[in-house]
């Protein structure tokens, strides 16, 4: 019974948030901050699988997010909106409820496949060289999208808001908020299940010692494949949600700066801590909004913050511990590991 309290509480929170948004008690600014928070939680948690639990150094997360964002946007635009290049909508607007989740799913799958570009070289290389590969993957994705005329190239791509509008016309609810919150819960759920499963124990084993893990019958190549594809797939989900929240994407918003942001969140939260990643993502988003007045200096302060973090507390806020290690009483309600 007590274990259920957490799940019930979580969904009560979601319903409360949605209700607040529905009755316009939250203004649009706070609403959008909450949605970006959700997207950031997905990004940080998914990167944490590779950078935290597996101990690799992947710095091209923005690239996978970009793939997810573009593919899912392309799907919804094809299905539900009129576009000069892609023609009239293929499906009636009533199907938007099914269409958006399917588009998000296809986007995630595409991002997971793009993750192969990094996963396969990771069989042979590790450490610094793998970091370069992920970075190159990020640049390749951005550069490829810049050269694709049918999604607008460097000018960006829009038309996704038609789908959201279709849904809101049918039933008047803040649909994107609901999808972002559900996506966030789904991400945390699937990552926690994966990491605490027997199969998933192989991921921290690779972090500890790859050769020893292999001797202990962990199929390291297989594990890497799963971890990279899961991580990039979830990044693709975040990208799809981000694109539909904004209604507009352009390749520059997924460049190395975005990847750095996600990395900051992961290392701020602590490597190998899901609750750490979530807390860091939320506090980072709040910090970014609070530091808005700094303007250009914001991008000096944030890297400096991370440098200081590396000097004085390299393990991040939580280290590899979960919330329950700090507040043991929480264990009654939820098993974090």
């Amino acid at each position: 019974m007590q274990k259920k309290v957490f799940t019930i509480g979580l969904f009560a929170c979601i319903v409360a948030l949605v209700a607040l948004a529905q009755f316009h008690l939250l203004d649009d600014y706070y609403l959008s901050v909450i949605m970006f928070m959700g997207v950031n939680v997905i990004l940080a948690a998914s990167l944490n699988l590779v950078n935290g639990y597996m101990g690799e150094f992947s710095c091209g997360h923005g690239g996978f997010m970009c793939v997810g964002a573009y593919v899912s946007s392309l799907c919804t635009v094809l299905m539900f909106s009129k576009n000069q290049m892609l023609g009239a909508p293929l499906l009636p607007p009533q199907l938007a409820f099914i269409g958006l989740p399917i588009a998000l799913f296809i986007g995630s799958m595409a991002a997971a496949v793009a993750g192969l570009v990094v996963a396969i070289p990771s069989f042979k290389t590790r450490g610094d060289y793998l970091a370069i590969i992920t970075l190159a993957a990020n640049y390749i994705v951005i550069s490829a999208i810049n050269n694709m005329e049918f999604v607008g190239g460097p000018r960006g791509f829009m038309g996704m808001s038609a789908t959201v509008r279709d849904m809101e016309n049918m039933i008047d609810l803040p649909w994107m908020l609901i999808f972002v919150l559900l996506g966030m819960v789904f991400t945390i759920w699937i990552l926690r299940r994966f990491v605490s499963s027997t199969l998933g124990k192989g991921v921290p084993a690779i972090c500890q010692d790859e050769i020893a893990a292999e001797i202990m019958s962990v199929d390291t190549n297989h594990m890497k494949l799963i971890a990279f594809m899961l991580s990039s797939g979830l990044a693709g989900l975040a990208g799809g949600l981000y694109a539909h929240v904004l209604g507009y994407v352009n390749p520059q918003s997924f460049d190395i700066m975005r990847s750095t942001e996600v990395m900051v969140m992961v290392y701020l939260g602590g490597m190998g801590s899901l609750s750490g990643a979530a807390i860091a993502a939320v506090s980072y988003t709040v910090l970014m909004e609070a530091l808005r007045f700094l303007d250009v200096w914001k991008w000096v302060v944030i890297p400096l913050l991370l440098i200081l973090l590396m000097q004085f507390r390299p393990e991040g806020l939580m280290g590899n511990r979960e919330l329950s290690d700090f507040f043991p009483k929480l264990r009654k309600y939820y098993s974090f590991k």
């Binding site: 150094f57 710095c59 570009v117 396969i120 070289p121 042979k124 290389t125 450490g127 610094d128 060289y129 970091a131 370069i132 590969i133 970075l135 190159a136 993957a137 640049y139 390749i140 550069s143 490829a144 810049n146 050269n147 050769i211 190395i256 750095t260 990395m263 290392y267 303007d295 250009v296 200096w297 991008w299 000096v300 944030i302 890297p303 400096l304 991370l306 440098i307 590396m310 000097q311 390299p314």
Partner: protein, 308 residues
């Protein structure tokens, strides 16, 4: 004739990449650290050169101290002073950011993150301090164009290529023939045994950073003279490209940096000659990916063996 023109351009581009790649490779060869801030040190070098040159020739935009030196003399002063000041920036970075981490024996990952962030601080600090307006580098030498059989050879291109080759020869000599070079190679071999042999570890590392950053400063001046528009993010992409060059050649090997640099120059110019120029980055990074996939240690690199 077009092909010779392209080869010349490729050599010029390759020289820039090689000059910056040498800095990456020197630091990596000694510390096993990828100094991700190196591209931004190159940018800082270009800006230092700009302020020096403008101040010396008394143009607007610099510090008004009432100097009106002739451009040739200004160039003669700018080159060494920029190299020294840029080297100082590199050493400052090493002392404030990398050395404390090294002393603590921190995980290499933390050092890499620090390096990445230091690069961002330099870039955005520049943007915040100097604003987003681009700076125009003054003309310090008169452009001379020789027309050799239909190929337009400018004096600047020749200077750039010759500079890259001289720097390569000098660094190769330092690393393979001198005592300091021997110490550098020793540190990369075993960082713990070397201090026991009476070799001052920190001094050698500082020398490495001085050499690498000084070369980045030189590249900064030459780049600013060839492409006289300066902006804060100019170091980011060319830095990454130079890094690709270093990795392709086998990071940690001086010959690798120069071969990789020229190879990348040829690939880029070749791509632009055949395809639209927007595909240049795509090809450059794809080449990196394929080479790392097939030969993870680069062309000249030696695989590290780890003992269990």
């Amino acid at each position: 004739m077009e092909i010779f023109q392209n080869i010349l351009n490729a050599l010029q581009f390759g020289s820039f990449y090689a000059l910056i790649a040498l800095g990456y490779t020197l630091v990596y060869g000694v510390l096993r650290l990828i100094n991700f801030a190196h591209g931004d040190i190159f940018m800082v070098g270009a800006y230092i050169a700009y302020f020096l040159a403008v101040t010396l020739i008394g143009a607007t935009g610099g510090f008004n101290v009432g100097l009106h030196v002739s451009p040739a003399v200004a160039l003669a002063i700018t080159v060494p002073v920029t190299m020294i000041l840029t080297a100082l920036v590199g050493v400052t970075l090493e002392r404030t950011a990398y050395r404390p981490l090294r002393r603590k024996g921190a995980n290499r990952l933390y050092v890499v993150i620090t390096a990445l962030m230091a690069g961002l601080v330099l870039e955005n600090g520049n943007l915040a301090l100097l604003g987003a307006t681009r700076k125009r580098f003054p003309d310090l030498i008169d452009k001379v164009v020789w027309n050799i059989g239909g190929v337009a050879v400018t004096n600047l291109k020749v200077v750039v290529i010759v500079a890259a080759i001289i720097v390569f020869a000098m660094l190769q000599f330092i690393v393979t023939r001198t005592k300091i070079g021997m110490a550098m190679r020793g540190i990369s071999y075993d960082k713990f045994a070397i201090p026991l042999m009476g070799i001052p570890l920190d001094t050698i590392i500082v020398v490495t950073f001085v050499l690498g950053s000084g070369m980045a400063g030189l590249a900064g001046i030459l780049f600013a003279m060839s492409y006289p528009i300066l902006e804060p993010y100019m170091g980011a992409l060319i830095g990454w490209k130079a890094f690709i060059a270093a990795v392709v050649g086998g990071i940690g090997d001086i010959r690798g940096a120069i071969v990789g640099g020229f190879l990348l120059g040829f690939i880029e110019i070749g791509v632009v000659a055949v395809f639209p120029s927007t595909l240049r980055d795509l090809f450059a990074f794809s080449v990196l990916l394929i080479i790392l996939w097939l030969r993870p240690t680069g062309l000249f690199g030696v695989a590290e063996t780890t003992k269990i």
